[in-house]
Amino acid sequence: MGLFDSLNIGMSGLNASQAAIDITGQNISNANTAGYSRKVLNQSADVVRDDARGQRGMGVSVKEIDRIRNSFLDRQTWEQVGEKGYSTEVDNAYTRIENILREPTENGLAAQMNKFWASWQDLANNPADLSSRESVKAAATTMVDTFHNVYKQIEDYGLSMNNPLIEKSKTVNDLTNQIFMLNDKVAGSEITKGQKANDTRDQRDILVRKLSELVDVQTIEDAQGRCIITSGGNQLVGPADVQKLETYGVDKTLSDGTKTSELRLRFAGNYRNFEPRSGDLKGIMDARGQVLTGYMNDLNTLASSMVKQVNDVHILGYNLNQVTGVQFFDGNKLQAGTMQLSGAVQADAKNISAGAGGKIQAVATVLPRPVIPAALTPTLNLTTTDPKFRDLVKGSMKITLLGPGPAFAPAGDLEEGAGKDYVVDNAKGTITFLNYARYAPGTSIDVQFSYNTTGFSGNGNGQNALQIAGLRLKASMSPDTSGTNTQSMNSYYAATIGKLGIEKNQNASRKETKEFLIGQMDSEQNAVSGVSLDEEMTNMIKFENSYKASARFISAVTSMMDVLMSLGR
């Protein structure tokens, strides 16, 4: 054991202190670098040999530079980031619909519907007045335009989602590609050179986090340190390759008849559909496929109810030309995006039927098989379903048996008359069935007849307009699938608006929760891996001092050597 050994010990101290100072400098420089994890020097005392007095240390050796990071927390964060991305996209859709519907305001659909109903009331007061008719027509046109406009804007918003789908799928491809290359770099330095690829891992974590904003990300690190990424049940980044995404179009016809295509995602390699479980992309898909479609369906339900119900009453009335049976809306256009006034009303406001009365030529009803208790005469009362079916036109009744089989009950027309199949009471609107043998279980019958309403009673009659105005409060829509009508059209729309607010709030609070959680986790991660300047400054003073001390040690050994050398003179 000689003085040269002591010099070496001093030297190793100098080296270690310098390395530590370098790392401190690196940490301070990157104090504000996103995704940077602080590094610490991993050093240990060198033990070289034992002698009689015990182990002799041979200075300090620098093992490696460690990255301080909680990778478990990273994984959890990535999951939350994906869900936040999802909620954000869905929230955008809700916000957009809110802006489109503009409720509650003076110009929204609800206001236009109110104006429409009020215009019928005014017409009922002045049924012969042309200006009241024109104002019904104008109110209806404005309401229809509002339906179109609102529906079209939602539809357009759905289409505009094609663009972010293209951009974001490209971003996914970029990210997976970069991660794949970084995987190679990590494996290259850690396996081949045996060095920890700290900064490369930092970079890779940043990219994975970016990726997790777009799609759900499940990661596994393989033996070479490669990060294998699975999303939506499919491997995006494998050990040897990357699966690229691409968009493809599905044909779609818009409400105005324009043909266009809606983009979807699939893998470029095998054309399998890509279905992420969270992230922006899933958010875009759900916003389009569920949120927008849902509200478009609600609007369609409302529009078709409006068309059908107004028409049902309108065709019963008389217009100024003393004609009955005219539609108000075009009965073939039942969608919010397509509904229209009928050609007759569009051509001339005189064709609006304000007056009560009218004969309805052919009403077809399919009735179930009459219930026939033995010995009782089965009577079907048409008035039970609709009180308007009274005063049937004599001889207009035509009843057809629909199935089930020829042997027991041959299908075909039933004969009217005593001793035949049925008799009709035209005044009461009832049918009495006589020939029981023809009504097998499962039989249904098709009934067609004409009936008189009260007849034309002058242009000053506004009863029919009043009836249409009364639809405002009529419980004519079912809020669920039960089929029981408990809501008026106005309250159906109000409920839809309420639902929109509630859903938006639920989603927004989910988004806020996720943001809060991410904030917490980032903070927790920061507590572990973030740079604390105070700590680094303390370290700097510590390492600076130890460097100085090591230098002093070397100079002490040098003077000892000088003493030794002087002995030989």
């Binding site: 104090a31 504000n32 602080r38 809700y94 809110e98 802006n99 409720e103 509650p104 609800a110 519907m113 109110n114 109903w117 009020a118 009331q121 005014d122 009922a124 007061n125 002045n126 012969a128 007045d129 007056g355 009673s457 002058g458 242009n459 000053g460 009659n461 506004g462 009863q463 009043l466 105005a469 009364g470 405002r472 409060l473 106005n490 309250s491 109000a494 409920a495 608006i497 309420g498 639902k499 929109l500 607010g501 509630i502 938006k504 709030n505 904030g519 980032d522 903070s523 920061n526 507590a527 572990v528 973030g530 740079v531 604390s532 300047l533 105070d534 700590e535 400054m537 303390t538 003073i541």
Partner: protein, 392 residues
């Protein structure tokens, strides 16, 4: 040892809190600027949905109020018409009583008859009262006048062809007067052309004399020829009859006009021609009685005058009945109007509670949030300033 706090942790926290405070501040600011608590459904879904309901209610109450006001105006028109009708009746009755007096000469009765004729014309004008261009006594056929004065022409021939409109001569039997100028839309003379309510004194037959050559039932519009002179006139083709008559429109004048004044409540506002002047088959209708009176006065028939007074009384009562129904309708509408007003005020308040900002609350919230925001800014500036570096 306490947990590690890194530099970026602090800055992140400060930023996050600043954002949160600023978002709250912005929301309150938006409320104050618009005066509304809810500008979009998600601000308060339940309130938004309620607010739509209130708006719909308000809109409806306003419509009902419009209906009521329109109905009241209509009823007012009817009422003033009926009022002047009452004064016409009173004058007519005075004239009738005066004329019935046996001291009157034929001439003085004739002059009374001329006065009655003037009042008859007033009554016809009254029956054609309009409201906003619609005839109020025509029921739902409000585009047609219920009564109209016409100048009728008829011709009596020995043997008439079908649908020609000519009357076939039959001696000594009442023949319905057929007005050849009345045709339907296909230019066909129909039963509607039967001229009833003929005005006494207006009927002329070429060269023939009323009373001797022919007699007339003015109410039913029938003429009876009695003499050879009449037969000769018919044979020579000069039996042309001209006259004035009051035509009651053959359309249904009894339809009811309603105004919806509350949900599902329709209030009737019109009085029909039958309510006021008597139905088509009524013997003691307003115009029937007046024509009898005219017949009695112009043609000096005291018995007719006396019997017409009964008829006049009956129709006056009928009209008074119509007037009191009208008054009852006015009362009903006015009651509803004040109820609707109450509902309007109440619902407006509810809507305001749901939609409008409580300014005192919002401003104090705003100030509080502003203070918090400023405090967090200041705190952030302080906390971010110092590190160990500053002391080395």
């Amino acid at each position: 040892m306490s947990s590690r706090i890194s530099f970026s942790q602090i800055s992140d926290h400060i930023l996050q809190r600043l954002f949160m405070n600023y978002t709250k501040l912005e929301a309150t600011q938006a409320q104050l600027a618009s005066g509304k608590k809810i500008s979009k459904p998600s601000d308060d879904p339940v309130a938004a949905s309620q607010s739509l309901g209130f708006r719909s209610d308000l809109d409806q109450y306003n419509t009902f109020q419009r209906n009521v006001q329109d109905g009241l105006a209509y009823l007012g028109t009817v009422d003033s018409a009926l009022n002047s009708g009452s004064s016409i009746y009173q004058s007519i009755r005075e004239s009738a009583v005066q004329a019935s007096n046996d001291t009157n000469s034929a001439e003085s009765r004739f002059y009374i008859g001329r006065e009655v004729r003037g009042m008859f014309d007033q009554m016809v004008a009254l029956s054609n009262t309009t409201f906003k261009g619609e005839f109020v006594f025509s029921g739902t056929n409000s585009q047609v006048a219920p009564y109209e004065m016409r100048n009728g022409t008829s011709k009596v021939v020995a043997a008439a062809g079908p649908l020609s409109g000519d009357m076939t001569y039959v001696a000594g039997t009442p023949m319905a007067l057929i007005d050849k100028s009345v045709t339907d839309s296909k230019d066909t003379i129909t039963s509607a052309a039967n001229a009833q309510l003929v005005l006494p004194g207006s009927l002329k037959v070429n060269g023939l004399k009323e009373g001797t050559d022919f007699s007339v039932n003015y109410v039913l519009g029938q003429i009876t020829f009695n003499t050879p002179a009449a037969a000769a006139a018919v044979a020579s083709g000069t039996a042309d009859i001209t006259y004035e008559w009051l035509r009651r429109n053959e359309k249904d004048l009894d339809g009811t006009m309603n105004r919806e004044i509350e949900e599902g409540v329709a209030a009737r506002i019109n009085s029909t021609a039958s309510d006021v002047f008597g139905s088509k088959t009524e013997a003691n209708g307003a115009f029937e009685s007046m024509i009898n009176l005219l017949d009695g006065t112009l043609n000096n028939k005291p018995d007719k005058i006396r019997s017409s007074i009964d008829g006049l009384d009956t129709s006056f009562k009928r009209q008074l009945g119509a007037q009191s129904s009208n008054g009852a309708r006015v009362l009903r509408l006015e009651a509803t109007q004040s109820r609707n007003d109450d509902r309007l005020v109440y619902t407006t308040k509810l809507q305001s509670d749901v939609e409008d900002v409580d300014f005192a609350q919002a401003i104090s919230d705003f100030n509080l949030q502003q203070n918090v925001y400023q405090a967090s800014l200041k705190m952030g500036a302080e906390a971010l300033q110092k590190t160990l570096v500053d002391f080395l």
